[in-house]
Structures are given as structure tokens and as C-alpha cells.
């Protein structure tokens, strides 16, 4: 027990050390807790109200699907194997600490750290039980059930990670994939109501848990079969954990660089970026840099696009817009307003791309700065690559939505192009400004926020044109005229900022 406590304390100090390292990290936690707490109140009250008119069958189906999804995610995460932070390997694995004590301490510290993120969730539960006026015993039973469920999912994840590391047979992975498929298969009934499989009649742990939760909410005693099924699952996950944690797993551990969940520093971002490159580079290997004759600017644009593909930037931007497109198509009310909102928020793309460029390139800038290449050529190529991505994805989305909903998309298209040009150049300008030696320590979050602010201010005339167009319901040709003016203004800003970027880049010190 003493060993567990010692390891636990070291691990907690390592994680919280990042908070002490920077006030920005602390500020981010407060911001998260503040924002999420406000959301939790709304969510708790909304859930409480909706459960007054509950349909027991759909409740079990939906809750079971949610728990199954969590379980499937936990199993998927276990495919990475048993990973430890690099400092843990050198500190604990060479000591007398047993694998079981280490794993127990790891789980405890993970739950402690996780519980900070879960504060809003507990708040939701409190508001929810208050809204339903549940007795204290029922509320506590609900809390205990949810906690046991979380712990058992953590047991499953940890045990399978150990098993995956020790047993390399493909059969084990195949079985786990099969289990994930089985867990998620009944969810097909949400898309197609005729699908024959549903969660409710299946003897899934998630279904047992959902039934227990439903009866607790209805202030009834849960059926014996559900309780038995739920506790059998808990017993199974605990036994599996006890057996797996008893193995000599230190020999199979895969060390990974340490970073804290609370750390927003450049170092932590770089580690995350490396993981992202590992995951996404495979799909980007068909798109390569080669020696085919091309102007240097084309070559550099290609290089930047390759970076966006291989570090996952392009994937996440596309994913965001696919989700937006689906929501836009599903929302029957005012598609035109949705398209306009979409165009306004396209300003996010240059910010995302610039943040990732900064993380991936800041340490490699020496290759560029010690070369005779004119920096203006490099930065204009970089901006064209940003503009290509941040214009094309919103444009395609707006076009699809516009065609399918027969909405007027002239002004949103101009706004998206303008946001792309101004957003890209403003973001890069602020990023380069903060690469100067005295400002280098500024947090990436502050840099991104200032970039976003500057982009928004510079886009004000474009927003004004859109506003005039909406208020006076201008004709198609007037919209075209406004659009041309917006593009001209954006181009002037782009050229001006490009000049400033080159000038500032000459004073970058590495």
C-alpha cells in the first residue's frame, strides 16, 4: 500500500507540475471549468425535464448505446498496448516497486486527474437529480452506479492494454475487433428503425447498467436479473484486472514522452504533433515531394500541403466541415442563416492551420533561415497553401448546402474567400511577430486568440458589406459588386501583411 501511495504521489506531482510551470495552464483549467459548469447546468436541467416524459424502451436503447460506445472506445485505446511515460520507466521500473503496485497507482492517479475534468459532469448529475427531486439515497445510488461503471471500463482498458502487449497473436486483436463490432452493431437501429437488433433484449453489460439506471430514476428497485448481470460484469472486469496486473508487465511496456493533460506548453504540443504525424503520415505518403521541374513557389506550396496532410490538419478541418454539412442538411429551419454562420466561422480554419504550422515548424526554421531563399517567396507560398485549403473546404460545403437547400450563396462564398485571405495572413503575421526572441515564451493559446481577434477586426468591412446586403436585400448584381469590393479589400490586406511578415521574419532569432 505504501508503494502504491508513493508512486501515486510522484505521478500526481508530475501531472500538476505543468500547472505550476505556467499561469496560462491554470487559466485554461479555470476557463474550462467555468465554461463547462455553465453548460452543465443547462444540460442537467434539460435532461431532468426530458426524463419527466421518458420512454423506458428508448431510454434503455439510447443509454446502452452510449455506454457501449464508451466501452468500444476503451477497447480501441487498448490497442496501443501498455504504455508508460519515459520518466516512469527510468524511475519506477528500476526500483523494487511491483507491477501491480505501479498499475494500481497509475489507475488511481488517472482517476484523480480525470475527476478534475469530470467536475462539470458531477455538477450535471447534481442539477439533474435536483430537477427530478430524487431522494438522497437514489441520487447516491445513481452516483455509485456511474462511478462503478467508469472504474470497470478503466479496468477493462488497462487489462486489455496489458494483454495486447504480452500476447502478440493476431487472434486476440481479431476477437477484440469483433467485440467492438458487436457492441456497436445494435446502434444501426437508430439509423434504420427496421434493423432487427436492438440493445434492450441483448445481455450486454451496457444494457444491464442502463436498466439499473432506469429503475433508480423511476425510484424502483432494479430487477434482480439486471443487478446480477451488472455485478457479474463488474466482477469479470475486476478479476481480469487482478490477473493481468499480476503479470510482469514492465518488460513489455512501451515508453512514450511525458506530457501532462494540463500542459499547454510548446513541448506538450510538439509531442502531440509527433503522435499525429505517426497516425496520419501513412495516408499522406502518396503525395510526395519530388524532383519534377517546377517553380520554387509551387514546390513550397506542395511541401506545405504535404505537411497539412501528414500532420492531420487537413483531416480535422475536413471532418469539422463534414459534421457541419450534416447538421446543415439536417436542420430544416433557415438554411441560409446556417450557410452564413458557416462562412463567418470559416475564419477558424486559418487559425487551426497556423497553430499546427507553428508547432511543426518552429524548431525547423533554421533550415530556411540559413538558406539564401528570399523569405517573401517562402511566406507567400505558405500563405497560398493556407488559402487553398481554407477557401476550398468551406466553398465546397457552402456549394453543396446552397444547391441542396436552394439558398442564395453569393455573399457567403465571397465572405469565405475573404476570411481565408485575411485570416491566413493575419494569423501568420501574429505568429511571426511572436517568434521574436523576447516574445517567444508567449503561450500558443494567447497567440491563436490574438490572431483570431486581429482577423475579426480586419474582416469588419466585409461583415459590414454582408450586413448591408442582408438589410437591403440587394440584387444579385449588387451582391457581385459587394463581393468584388470585399475580395479587392482582402487582397490589399493580404499584400500588406505579407510585406510585414517578410520584414518581421528577418528579425527571427533562434
Amino acid at each position: 500500500m505504501r508503494q502504491v501511495l508513493n508512486v501515486y504521489l510522484v505521478k500526481i506531482k508530475a501531472v500538476l507540475g505543468a500547472v505550476r510551470a505556467s499561469r496560462i495552464n491554470l487559466l485554461l483549467i479555470y476557463l474550462y471549468l467555468f465554461g463547462a459548469s455553465i453548460g452543465s447546468f443547462g444540460l442537467g436541467m434539460g435532461l431532468g425535464q426530458s426524463l419527466r416524459f421518458i420512454n423506458p424502451v428508448s431510454f434503455i436503447d439510447e443509454t446502452s448505446a452510449l455506454i457501449s460506445a464508451f466501452l468500444a472506445i476503451a477497447i480501441t485505446l487498448s490497442f496501443r498496448g501498455f504504455t508508460v511515460f519515459d520518466y516512469e520507466e527510468s524511475l519506477f521500473f528500476t526500483s523494487t516497486i511491483t507491477p501491480r503496485a505501479f498499475i494500481a497507482a497509475t489507475m488511481l492517479s488517472d482517476l484523480t486527474v480525470f475527476s478534475i475534468f469530470l467536475i462539470p459532469l458531477f455538477l450535471t448529475l447534481w442539477v439533474f437529480t435536483t430537477t427530478l427531486a430524487l431522494p438522497l439515497t437514489t441520487s447516491l445510488s445513481l452516483l455509485a452506479t456511474a462511478t462503478l461503471l467508469l472504474v470497470s471500463i478503466a479496468f477493462i482498458k488497462q487489462s486489455l492494454s496489458i494483454l495486447i502487449s504480452i500476447r502478440k497473436e493476431p487472434m486476440l486483436r481479431f476477437i477484440l475487433v469483433l467485440i467492438i463490432a458487436l457492441l456497436l452493431l445494435p446502434a444501426a437501429s437508430f439509423i434504420d428503425p427496421c434493423f432487427p437488433l436492438r440493445y434492450k433484449p441483448l445481455p450486454y453489460p451496457s444494457t444491464f447498467a442502463a436498466e439499473v439506471l432506469l429503475h433508480l430514476l423511476s425510484r424502483e428497485a432494479p430487477p434482480t436479473i439486471s443487478l446480477l448481470g451488472f455485478f457479474l460484469y463488474l466482477a469479470f472486469s475486476t478479476t481480469l484486472f487482478i490477473i493481468c496486473s499480476g503479470r510482469d508487465v514492465f518488460r513489455y511496456a512501451r515508453p512514450i514522452p511525458f506530457y501532462s493533460a494540463f500542459d499547454a506548453s510548446m513541448r506538450a504540443q510538439t509531442i502531440k504533433m509527433k503522435r499525429s504525424i505517426r497516425a496520419f503520415s501513412k495516408m499522406g505518403m502518396k503525395f510526395t515531394l519530388d524532383l519534377k521541374p517546377s517553380p520554387i513557389s509551387h514546390f513550397l506550396i506542395r511541401k506545405e500541403l504535404i505537411q497539412m496532410v501528414r500532420d492531420g490538419s487537413l483531416f480535422f478541418v475536413t471532418l469539422l466541415y463534414v459534421i457541419v454539412l450534416i447538421i446543415g442538411l439536417a436542420s430544416e429551419k433557415s438554411p441560409s442563416a446556417w450557410i452564413l454562420v458557416l462562412a463567418i466561422y470559416s475564419l477558424l480554419i486559418p487559425t487551426m492551420l497556423t497553430v499546427n504550422w507553428r508547432i511543426g515548424e518552429i524548431d525547423c526554421l533554421w533550415t530556411l533561415l540559413t538558406s539564401p531563399l528570399n523569405l517573401k517567396i517562402f511566406f507567400s507560398s505558405l500563405l497560398y497553401a493556407f488559402i487553398a485549403v481554407s477557401t476550398s473546404i468551406p466553398t465546397v460545403t457552402i456549394l453543396i448546402l446552397g444547391i441542396l437547400t436552394r439558398s442564395n450563396i453569393v455573399m457567403p462564398l465571397f465572405l469565405a474567400a475573404s476570411a481565408s485571405m485575411i485570416g491566413s495572413s493575419a494569423n501568420l503575421f501574429v505568429t511571426i511577430h511572436f517568434l521574436e526572441r523576447r516574445r517567444r515564451a508567449t503561450s500558443g493559446v494567447i497567440v491563436a486568440w490574438l490572431s483570431f481577434l486581429l482577423s475579426g477586426i480586419l474582416l469588419a468591412p466585409a461583415y459590414a458589406c454582408i450586413g448591408l446586403s442582408l438589410i437591403f436585400e440587394t440584387s444579385f448584381f449588387t451582391d457581385l459588386l459587394f463581393g468584388a469590393l470585399i475580395l479587392l479589400y482582402s487582397y490589399v490586406i493580404f499584400r500588406f501583411l505579407l510585406e510585414r511578415i517578410e520584414h518581421k521574419a528577418l528579425s527571427i532569432e533562434i
Binding site: I277, G360, D363, T367, T370, P372, L373, S507, E509, I510
Partner: protein, 259 residues
Amino acid sequence: MTPILEVYDLWKSYGEIQALRGLTLRVERGEIFGLIGPNGAGKTTTLKIIVGLLSMDRGKIIVDGVDITKQPYEYKRLIGYVPESISLPEYLTLEEFLIYSGRIRNVPNELIRERMNYYLKVFELENKRRSLILSLSRGMRQKAAIAAALIHDPELLILDEPLVGIDPVGQHRIKEIFSERVKEGKTVFISTHMLDTAERMCSRVAVIHWGRIVASGDLSTLRGIAREGANATLEEVFLKLTEESEEFNPWKADNEAGS
């Protein structure tokens, strides 16, 4: 013939810390020149100012007759640089990185291909050419950075601790490359802690301490300055020179003034 590199009265400070205090040195063509000094002496700062990664507070640097502050891009055609701590674009493959390094230095495609194949073979990295830099070991990355610095066949190759982290075979190959370059009339300027390597490789060395050059020349000249015998090694000479130059230690002066 004009020297390939001339540095005059170079000053640089980081806030209150004075890193360089009137550093002056001269590197001739066709030599391997070593800059040696203790930790914090100002070696890396000097190199970074020369290659354009840091600005100087005061002073003048001339590369092949070109004042680097007046033509900040042009002189970089003449130099190749390998930093001490190497960060490379990890999302590129080794081959792509070398192509990129060649293209931004305006090297014709045919020459890039030829030199890339040559250095990948020399450094035994041929089987890694299509591997992401992310997957390369530290030594492999070091070799990749040296290959990139050589891809445009620079007149002046500047390297900060070039042999650290490289296996013995790799070190041998790098030393051979340096010797070949010197035979071709090119210059190699290295900063190092490895005094035995510097003694064997460099035709001349400069000893830097507390931000200024305390002695410069070939080993026999340094022995004379340090008043050491004819059999004294570079290490013995270095220790004597750095001990004598403690008078330049600004912290020591502060402490004495304080007491």
C-alpha cells in the same frame, strides 16, 4: 587571397548576460578551423550570428568579401550549417528533406539527385531514404543534417558539435568528407568540445572563453602562447589558456567588487 570568413569586434548580449565581448577571428580558405571553449563560452552564439540565426549587437562579419548585414541572403549561398541540437521537419521523408534543402538553395535538380544519392550512400542511409524523419535515430538525423548542409556544395561548412551522437564509422566518413573538401579548397569551421578530435582534424584552432578569443593559431603557436612544451597536447594547452583567461570572467569581477 581573401579569407573566407572575417569576424571583427563581435558583441552580443542576452539581457544582462554578455555572451560575446569583442570577438575577432579569421578563417582562411582550405582549412579545417576549430573553435574550442568551455560551456557558455560563446561558441554557439558566434556560429549562429555568422549563419544568420541571431543578430549581433555590434561588430562586422565578412564572408568571402561580403558584409553579411548588407547582403543578408546572398552570402548564404556560400555556407552550409549544421546546428548542435537538430530539429528536422518530421513529416518529410529523408529523401524529401534533402530535395527540399537543395531546392531552397537553388541547386539544379540533376545535382540534387546526384549529391543526394552520394551522401545517402556515404552515410549508409540508402535504405532509409523513404522513411519519415520522425522514425530516424538521433545519429541518423545528424547525418541527414550534414548531408543537407552539403547538398549545395558550400564554400564554408559550419558545424556545431558535428560528431556528437554519430557512430564510429559515421565519424570516420565525416572526417574523410572534411579532408576531401579541404583538398578541393573548401573550408570547414567546427565548434567542438572534443579536444582530441580537434587536435587531429583542425589545421588551426581558436580558444574562446568568456565571449572573446584568448588564443588562435596552429598547435605549435598555441603552445607558445600558453608557454607549454613541444609535446603538450591541445587539452593541456586549452586548460592553461582558459585558466589564465579567468581574468575576463565577469562574474568573478562582480564577486570581487562585492567582497
